[in-house]
Amino acid sequence: MDLFTILFYVFALITLGAACVVVFSRHIVRAAFALLFAFFGVAGLYVFLLADFIAVTQLMVYIGGILVLIIFGVMLTQKQINVDIKTSPVQTWPAVLIVAALAGVLIGMFWSTDWARMGEISTATTATTPKLGEMLLTTYVLPFEVASVILLVALVGSAMIARRERNT
């Protein structure tokens, strides 16, 4: 085994171990912090898949944004005195169905991928970010601008929900 194989297994182990803590921990703050390591491991796996932009996005959006929000929210709201918080499994069957469907997609992808050709792809691939930038601002310029509209909707929507009506 070379160094990269060992590192791959280290990252895979971090991801799976942390994900298990997220699922099985009864302590919600502990679960939220374990999610940090799971996201970090996934970012490492993206690097191994030569998806450098996706890895950066994972770090920026999931760890830098969403996870900070989750930890923030969880630490402010845990042990709430007058609200009943459940930590036992609820809605088992819908969850099983969704997870089974997701697992089906992932396993299907695993079987349909030509792993034998991965070696030549990995030697031929250079950094993907400049190419992604070119494609986003030339060929796929409409989806790019639509993304900004979606962000606008999120912004306006959250303002609508969170804003308290001012009586002036």
Partner: protein
């Protein structure tokens, strides 16, 4: 290509190792002489009254939402910035439209007074 990540990996290991070693060293080497006063919530401060667990204002949610939206905007800026020279003026205009759309939302939030903490 993956070899170019080795410096980053070394830095991650170094940073984590430094944090863990320093934290643990503090735990093992530092003197521990606790007293009742030292263990109080705010040492030399005011005595805390009632529970710190309270309901928090929904305004925190607004700030967090703004943060996430502009965080995602930065992710979109990044590939554009990497190939900025190649994209030139058309790319600049496209990006400007992207930012302008978000600015509309920003001004909406601002005008609605969601940024004020009254």
């Amino acid at each position: 290509m993956i070899e170019s990540y080795i410096p980053i990996f070394i830095m991650i290991v170094g940073a984590m190792g430094f944090a863990v070693v320093m934290g643990k060293m503090n735990e093992f080497v530092g003197p521990k002489r606790p007293s009742e006063e030292k263990l109080s919530t705010y040492e030399s401060g005011m005595e805390p009254v009632r529970s710190a667990r309270e309901r928090f204002s929904v305004k925190f949610y607004m700030v967090a939402m703004l943060f996430i939206v502009f965080d995602i905007e930065v992710v979109f800026l990044y590939p554009w910035a990497v190939s900025y020279k190649l994209l030139g003026t058309p790319g600049f205009i496209t990006m400007f439209v992207f930012i302008a759309v978000l600015l509309v939302g920003y001004f909406y939030v601002w005008r609605k007074g969601a940024l004020e903490w009254d």
